[in-house]
Amino acid sequence: MKDVIVSIIGMLLGILIIILSRDLPIFIAKGYPGPSFFPLILSAISILCGFILMLKTFKSLKKQNKKLELVLSISQKGILNNIPLRNATIFAFFMVTYILLIPYLGFFLVSLMFMFITQTAYGVSVLKALAISSAAIFLIYMLFIVILKVVVPEPILGSLIFR
């Protein structure tokens, strides 16, 4: 199943490169390759790899007579039943929200909230999570602001909110 997905990605990627390169010249002058020359070679390699991988996968499936199992495996394993993928998706969602909120609430406040919420969501006790998150924020402040002099994102809402 994985190989089929990869082969489709390979072919789609190749087509995408061709579409994106259509406004760029392939040659600048006779004998002088242009800016889309290299990307078009990449697209050809990508499509070829995808095609060979697809052929290889179907050949091995045919050999093992596994067509039916492949269909069953798709219907049985939904994304929601896949616990590692679900956990990873939740964590990725937390990270997206975290980065989205940084310009509004400032780096330190959002980081504190992010660490506290993710730790408690993944089983750390409230008090322990609060203590660890606060200590970590202090450490990051000392390291990045005091020692390395990094300018962290300030909140849009102004200096009323702790940065």
């Binding site: 990869v6 390759p33 800016p35 991988l53 990725a92 660890i132 990051i140």
Partner: protein, 491 residues
Amino acid sequence: MIFEILQLVLQPHVLFAIFAAELFGVFIGAMPGLTATMATALLVPFTYFMDPLAGISMIIAMAAVAIFAGDIPAVLLKIPGTPASAAQTIDAYQLGRTKPIQTLSTDLVCSVIGGIVGSLILIFTSPLLAEFAVNFSSVEYFWLTLWGLSMAIVISSEDPLKGVLGVVIGFLIATIGIEPVYGYVRFTFGKVELLSGISFIPAMIGLFAIPELLKQISKPHERYLINLLRGEKTYEMILTALKRFKATILRSSLIGTFIGALPGAGADIAAWVSYGVAKRVSKKPEEFGKGTLEGVVAATSANNAALSGAWIPLLVFGIPGDSITAIALGALMAHGLRPGPMLFQRHGTLITAMFAVFILANLLMLLIGYLAIRLSSNILRIPRNVLVPLIAVFCVIGSYAVNNSLFDVWCMLLLGILGYFMERLGIPIPSVVLAIILGPMVEFNFITTLMKSELNPIIFVSRPVAAGLAFLTTFTWILPFIRTKKLGIRK
């Protein structure tokens, strides 16, 4: 000259950087699942704010200690802390059940010896190779980069086709921004932030750290039970090992350095090959896999030697030997240092100081490693659900700090999620990263060579060194097929 180098290396801030990086390396290396590569990616934003020597010293020191620290959970829990510790895990664990401190201490000393042998080979061979490489033209560089990529694909991917796709994805990411030959703007979608391309450091953090974090958070939380560490007769065991296995240590260090110097092959492959060779030449091969010190000594001296070996192609040709040096290349370029033969001429003092750091970092590893062994049970008790959110915050601030741009943070996350799915689909991340780094170099050399010859492909094999490298690249691709055919005939 020596006084000048010592003055540079023994500056308090450089020593502090090495010390701090080694502590960080111990911590990450000893945590099962967190790799030395991820630690390097997290460390690079810090190096950005330091002078080049202190910054590069941090990477050198951290990687050396992290690879050793990967052996700690291998000995105590039968879980390799980093992939480089996988080869000796079973033997190390069997030995560690009765003599944990002694096994780890012997492991530490052999790691230091391996690291020093590798560093000495780096010190003596790279200036000679650099002199030879001065005459390289765009054709030789094109083949050299292509050979490096081919090695990475053939060695590190379960399926070479997926490795090639990984390289295409990496190249595609590298083509974003201003094109290197004519200055055309490509694939920016009107975004000003993309004009200079995807920032290298956020891309590294995203591709190496985020997939690891997503994987770690997906696993159920485990509490490790570690036996009380006892350390009687530690020095006796170390001395006996050094006496009995001196040939194994030296041979493995040489193998490790050589494999490390091959583009694409890293410390993990070096450890497996050395372990295999040690088993083949051992008087008691039947003891391998059942708790033999010879196996542990062979693998551990090789993986640390490989780290130094990987710097040879990086410094001489600008082609990283493994994932760690791939990130180090980004750090060097961030400081305006372009690796290649000219680096030795333009920044000779800095390079010599870096060589001194290799030796110093390995020696300091004795002290830090000893502390790590004593504190290992505490390090291993830190739960994953506490650590992962903390590292995620470091990823965000690290990506932001390079250009003070939230756009970079989004790139980091996007590439991280992309990396997670690529790993799940079997597309090797190191190939993607290597292609991002080498992409502009490959394109520039490829296009300028074609321009020189007005599209005549003969130019690619017209010079002897270029023809040799072309043969090596072709051979790298053919070798797996020959091996498969041979195995088929034997069966």
